[in-house]
């Protein structure tokens, strides 16, 4: 699976939201989209999901256009969006129910590996915010689609939980082969998680820069305190603040 965003543009009424946006997500790659709020990142997700159609440009997955076609990606929203009347296991299976056949054994196995064994039969209301986001991620990961789109999944969590979650996300994801497209406001988060960061500018959003992150995997949170990491952070910061 590879995803190619090709010169995509979109305006709502008179406001240009996205302009000439192009980048790629390779097989098994972790790509972060970073940019100020209102820079059309979620609009871009809507296009990949097939529920918003761009005014110009194309979105290509594995050499085929997926413009206005639904069901080609798996999605994890900012709010966990778990269904309150379903147990953790039933929630995790929801993505599969929509797009393919249900593999209950695989789901149970995955929940066990992800450290969610004890809450398999719990309802979402019984879980903490961090736990709910874990369930939500497993739900996305369990889907047969090879592209996961994560829309600021940790922005509602506190700092401690967030660092735990980033570490957990990497560990869990590295066991599987899906590609991830990740929206965030947080530079450290983007640096720590990604292979590649796409920096978007404020409205209209254009791609300012695409940078490859050279840190080896598997990554450890200690990485965030190294000089190398801070150097990269400065670089990204400067890129974000620079005028077009």
């Amino acid at each position: 699976m590879s995803l190619v965003i090709k010169k995509v543009g979109k305006s709502f009424e008179d406001k240009i939201v996205l302009k000439d946006v192009s980048f790629e997500v390779g097989k098994g790659e972790f790509v972060s989209l970073i940019g100020p709020s209102g820079s059309g990142k979620s609009t871009l997700f809507g296009m990949i999901g097939g529920i918003i159609s761009p005014d110009e440009g194309d979105i290509i997955m594995s050499n085929q256009s997926i413009l206005n076609k639904r069901g080609h990606m798996s999605y994890m929203p900012q709010q966990d969006s778990l269904f309150p009347w379903r147990t953790v296991l039933e929630n995790v299976l929801l993505g599969q129910e929509i797009s393919s056949e249900v593999t209950k054994d695989k789901a149970i196995q995955m929940l066990q590996i992800a450290g969610l064994k004890d809450v398999i039969n719990a309802y979402p209301a019984e879980l903490s915010g961090g736990m709910r986001q874990r369930v939500s991620f497993i739900r996305a990961l369990l889907c047969p689609q090879n592209l996961l789109c994560l829309d600021e999944p940790f922005s509602a969590l506190d700092e401690f939980t967030r660092i735990d979650m980033q570490q957990w996300l990497l560990e869990t994801w590295e066991k599987y082969e899906q590609s991830i497209l990740f929206i965030t406001h947080n530079i450290e988060e983007a640096l720590f998680l990604s292979d590649k960061i796409v920096i978007l500018s404020h409205s209209p959003a254009v791609v300012k820069e695409v940078i490859e992150i050279p840190f080896a995997r598997p990554r450890d949170p200690a990485l965030m305190l190294t000089d190398e990491f801070l150097k990269w952070k400065r670089k990204v910061m400067n890129l974000i603040q620079s005028k077009n």
């Binding site: 997700f45 809507g46 999901g49 097939g50 529920i51 639904r70 069901g71 080609h72 990606m73 798996s74 999605y75 929203p77 709010q79 969006s81 269904f83 309150p84 009347w85 379903r86 147990t87 929801l94 993505g95 129910e97 929509i98 797009s99 719990a122 309802y123 979402p124 209301a125 019984e126 889907c143 789109c149």
Partner: protein, 254 residues
């Protein structure tokens, strides 16, 4: 039971107080029994008349259960149709409300003219009383689905029927039950009214006979049994609701 006493003791004391005042007032002002019988008289009459009353109760019970099932099925299907086809809703929603402005007392004789004295006009009356609360609450339940969850389903590529069965319908369950609770109490009342049209058996028949022979205490017996029947219906629905929304209770515990 302990919980019931704990929460309901105020109401229980109030009822007892009213009954005592009532009994005293009848004695002090020596009210004629055919005008207003004392609670003690009604109570003893309840036991005296019970063997005679029992078949009437069974008949009304059956009628209201069947009527309730027909009414709620129609209410649910109607709400689903109006929800899925927005054009239908715009056209027929006013009719839904107008249907509640037809006085049943006027409609009843008409239904007898059209359908005779059989069970059909009775079911129509109960259905008219039942379907409305269910249709309205189901419709509003279906329309108040969490936007975030709908957006998630769309992003995942879910089609209209998946969104309905997996999200909108289960999300509307609490609303559906609040409609069912109202409809359950209406159905008993409507069943009794429909029996006034003419029937061999039923609480409604018993009531008309008691009224025409000035056995006022028997009218009160019928009223009390109707209330108990209504309450029982209500409790059964309440129990079903608890069974269907265990997840809510679990969440509330934390």
């Amino acid at each position: 039971m302990m919980r019931f006493i704990k929460q309901g003791w105020r109401s229980i004391i109030a009822i007892l107080l009213i009954l005592i005042l009532w009994e005293m007032a009848i004695n002090i002002f020596s009210v004629e029994e055919w005008l207003l019988p004392a609670p003690s008289v009604i109570f003893t009459d309840l036991f005296k008349v019970w063997p005679n009353f029992y078949p009437h109760l069974l008949s009304t019970l059956l009628l209201s259960i069947l009527g309730f099932i027909i009414g709620s099925t129609i209410g649910l299907s109607l709400a689903t149709l109006l929800h899925l086809f927005k054009g239908l809703k715009k056209t027929f929603y006013p009719f839904l409300i107008l249907s509640q402005n037809i006085p049943i007392i006027v409609l009843a004789p008409l239904l007898v003219i059209w359908f005779g004295f059989g069970t059909i006009p009775k079911f129509i009356i109960i259905t008219i009383a039942c379907f409305f609360p269910i249709a309205v609450s189901t419709l509003s339940g279906l329309q108040q689905t969490n936007r975030d969850l709908v957006f998630y389903m769309q992003m995942m590529g879910a089609n209209k029927s998946q969104i309905f069965w997996k999200l909108e319908l289960p999300d509307a369950v609490p609303a559906i039950f609040s409609g069912l609770k109202i409809a359950a109490t209406y159905s008993v009342m409507a069943a009794v009214v429909s029996e006034w049209l003419g029937a061999q058996k039923g609480i409604g028949v018993f009531m008309t006979m008691a009224t025409s022979s000035y056995k006022t205490s028997h009218v009160f017996v019928a009223i009390i049994i109707t209330m108990i029947l209504s309450l029982t219906f209500f409790s059964v629905i309440l129990l079903l609701e608890k069974l269907f929304s265990r997840w809510q209770k679990k969440g509330a515990r934390l």
